[in-house]
Amino acid sequence: MATRQLSRSALAGGTNHEGFLRHRNFRWLKIAGGLCLVSIVAYLLIDQKPHPNGGSAYGYTLGTIGALLILWLTMLGLRKRAMTRGRWSLKAWTSAHVYLGLSLIIVATLHTGFHFGWNVHTLAYVLMMIVILSGMYGITVYAALPRFLSNNREETTQTQMLDTLRSLDRQLHDAAQPLDAGAAELVRRSLEDNPFGGGLWQRLSGNYPKCPTRIAQLELRRMARGMRSSVGADPLEKVDMLLERKESALTLIRQHLRYKALLEVWLYIHIPVTFALIAALAAHIISVFFYW
């Protein structure tokens, strides 16, 4: 039994990787699309006067579906910690999460009946849309960025990147020993610089305009221009070469950090706002029945 299961799953997994978006030939896209279509058709057929609204029978139906969907979608946070295979595999779950999550745009918008205002109801809707939009961003970067990330790394691991930097730092440190105080200070600043420093914006943009390594290199070159003596033997030459290598190592790391930041940043919106949404949803539902 166990072997049969194993072989089947091995076959199903196969060599061709099927991502969660294409899972089972877009099964969940079809299901979610069907849900949207039915919702829209029913919305158009039901002639709610004077305006469609969340308090009509159809409004309550859509609201119930939407609220249950939101709660179920949130469960991915728990579910993802257990990676399993089969019909209810994590991949199937994630696929459903994505497509049913997108279908909420239709279900919840129709539930509103296009009534918006400065109230807890619209707050819940806006929070939900923020969660969905951040999720859409997440899907987009998950689809596009890993390729860039691995191209950038060129088969090196994060540990190797850090080791390269440490090795360069050691070499720089040694090579800079004969330098005078001013030049040594420039190199020291490069060494003291935290390669993982900078704020969120620098992580996302990859721009580090005050990079001490680059400044050290520029300054040392400027200094060297005046007092070049024996080429090659000059410790400045070696330091310059090492700084250049460090800068290219830093560029690699920073690009890596940028891609990783772009891949991660949406979760810092998606997850906390989901919780805020559930709170707002609770307030929305309770308030509606409190002031029925």
Binding site: P50, V120, L123, A176, E192, S287, F290, Y291
Partner: protein
């Protein structure tokens, strides 16, 4: 020996490697230069950074070149004498020099332990890779933000409004300003309820209890019932399909049927309150006759497709003192017995004598080339209907009742009072007796002889004989060709030889439809002729009301694709009053959102009575002669 310098380094496992070197000299040099006595491979240290001079067996002085800073026991300085006995920690860049008296050496031997205490570079420090390569640390923690926002949202949008709601219970007016439960609003209130915008508790009285009619009745005290509740119960159709499910749900959630708010929806925007949907009427009225078998009301469900022909209330028999009013379908071409003779066609003609008279009087009356409808029919105060046509206002300028002129003043017969007419005529003829010739007596001079007197006497008696014409004049005025007879039905009393004339009373209808409502002002873009064929009407008995087909050329049911989709509430009122129905009053009759008609009379709750009666009966008096 003066100094023993011990260079300490550590292996990866943390084991110490000590390389001691002894110096028998007074001064030690410290610097990055490899020739220094204490060589510090430290870029924060200059090539020749400092000197350590022994001042005595227990005392050293540390001084840097060019005032470079270093720290002694945490204090920054550039030169300092240090007692060795107590030990001291000197920091140059990333290196630490621990100065102490060497316990094994003799007096005056000073030990200096040199160790690098900071990593060579930032990158060389130990790093938690999983953390530094991720955004953690650059963003606030997801968990903290999640719980923080959850608490804020629940406090601001749930706890605070609930607290406010309980505090507001029973409060009549909370006044303007912000109240936390307003964040729960489902949309702006209608214009009529705008003042309740800050008083949620006015309608939402109990938590988790749907709005009850009591909330509405607190202000709308005088609302008319639609009908006898027992008959209403019979008239109601049994719910079916989705309605059944809806009612089951409502029952489960303690929401009674037939609440005010079922029809009068709120929070639908700051506009006039939308009228009840056609469905609410059609549910019962669509097949009313099947349940309420004795009803006189015809079934109606949709104006465009399921509405009976109009049945105006017309006077079908006016032989007695008051007419018999009966609702007759326009399909049966009812005849109105109103007691008048009035051919509309003759009056509206552009070519006949009437038109000629109009032209001669056009300057004085502000008329055109012929009579127009508006020349006689003046809109009433609210424009929905017309003021009653009266002899004085609308007829007398042509049909004048003048009979005498005294010193330039014209005397007219009094309209509406036949006895007075008779009295006036008799008086006229009485006061105009023939003067007696002087020749027939008295003291005046006369022509000699009897011949003249005889002639005068003959003439006088002839004149007197003819002057008794009052009876004839009275008979004439009430007979064909006479002033009264032209317009009125005259009943001659049973004895034709007495002058007992009787003018038949007149009944001019003010409203043909008691249960429906028609607003002329809403139709002022139409010409009168497009609905009323007055120009072809040769008899006052014609009921010139347009049939339903004419209305349907513009109006259809609530969701019909016609010029003016019209729900029942456009013409009919659920809470029956005599004024305009709710939808017309509030200008919400058309679902296509046309211009509001006008607000005629405020809330139906006031039960405003229409000042104009349905019929107006005038005349009907006897002219006793």
């Amino acid at each position: 020996m003066s100094f023993i310098v011990r260079q300490i380094s550590r292996t990866a496992e943390g084991r110490e490697i000590i390389r001691p070197r002894e110096f028998d000299q007074e001064v030690l040099t410290v610097g990055r230069d490899t020739a220094s006595d204490i060589h510090l491979a430290d870029l924060a240290v200059t090539l020749n950074h400092a000197t350590i001079r022994q001042l005595g067996p227990d005392r050293i002085r540390v001084a840097t070149e060019k005032d470079l800073p270093f720290t002694v026991n945490g204090r920054t300085t550039s030169a300092m004498e240090i007692p060795v006995a107590g030990g001291a920690e000197i920091r140059f860049g990333s290196h630490r020099l621990m100065v102490s008296r060497d316990p094994e050496g003799g007096a005056g031997l000073i030990r200096i332990d040199v160790e690098r205490v900071e990593a060579l570079s930032d990158a060389s420090e130990a790093k938690d890779e999983a953390k530094v390569f991720s955004l953690a640390g650059k963003m606030p923690s997801k968990r903290a933000v999640a719980w923080g926002t959850v608490i804020v949202v629940l406090l601001v949008f749930l706890a605070w409004p609930i607290l406010t709601a309980f505090q507001s219970q029973g409060v009549k007016d909370r006044g303007h300003g912000f109240h936390a439960d307003q964040t729960w609003t489902a949309g702006p209130l209608s214009l009529a309820h705008k003042t309740l915008e800050t008083n949620c508790q006015a309608c939402h009285q109990k938590p988790f209890v749907a709005v009850r009619d009591d909330s509405c009745l607190a202000c709308h005290a005088g609302v008319h019932d639609h009908g006898d509740p027992r008959r209403l119960a019979v008239a109601k159709a049994a719910p079916a399909g989705f309605d059944k499910i809806e009612i089951a749900f409502k029952g489960a959630f303690n929401i009674p049927e037939g609440r005010c708010v079922d029809c009068h929806l709120e929070h639908e925007g700051a506009t006039r309150m939308p009228p009840a949907r056609q469905k609410f009427c059609a549910d019962c009225h669509g097949s009313l006759s099947t349940r309420l078998t004795d009803t006189e009301i015809s079934d109606a469900a949709d104006f465009g497709t399921a509405h009976p022909q109009f049945r105006p209330a017309v006077a079908v028999n006016f032989d007695g003192p008051s007419p018999i009013i009966r609702r007759v379908s326009l399909d049966q071409q009812p005849k109105e017995d109103n007691g008048l003779k009035f051919p509309h066609a003759m009056h509206l003609s552009t070519t006949n004598g009437v038109a000629q008279m109009v032209r001669t009087m056009s300057g004085e009356q502000n008329w055109g080339q012929s009579l127009q409808c508006k020349d006689c029919h003046t809109p009433d105060a609210n424009g929905a209907g017309f003021r009653p046509v009266t002899m004085e206002q609308n007829c007398q300028m042509c049909h004048d009742l003048a009979f005498d002129k005294v010193d330039g003043t014209i005397r007219t017969l009094r309209h509406g009072d036949p006895r007075q007419v008779v009295a006036e005529l008799r008086s006229y003829y009485g006061s105009h007796g023939v003067a007696r010739p002087p020749i027939l007596g008295g003291m005046g001079r006369r022509i000699p002889g009897q011949g003249a007197a005889a002639t005068a006497a003959a003439d006088y008696y002839l004149a007197v004989g003819h002057s008794g014409g009052a009876d004839a004049a009275i008979a004439k005025v009430f007979s064909p060709g006479g002033a009264c007879y032209d317009c009125h039905m005259i009943n001659r009393a049973t004895n034709p030889y007495t002058l007992n004339f009787e003018v038949h009373p007149v009944r001019l209808p003010q409203r043909y439809f008691k249960l429906g409502w028609f607003d002329h002002r809403a139709h002022e873009t139409e010409s009168c002729e497009s609905c009323h064929s007055a120009k072809k009407s040769n008899s006052a008995t014609d009921v010139m009301l347009p049939g339903i087909a004419t209305c349907r050329s513009c109006h259809g049911g609530e969701s019909a694709h016609v010029q003016v989709p019209s729900s029942c509430a456009m013409c009919h009122d659920y809470h029956r009053g005599d004024g305009a129905p709710f939808a017309t009053r509030t200008g919400n009759g058309s679902t296509s959102g046309g211009e509001p008609v006008a607000n005629r009379g405020g809330m139906s709750a006031t039960g405003r009575a229409d000042p104009s009666p349905v019929t107006r009966v005038t005349g009907g008096r006897r002219a006793a002669g």
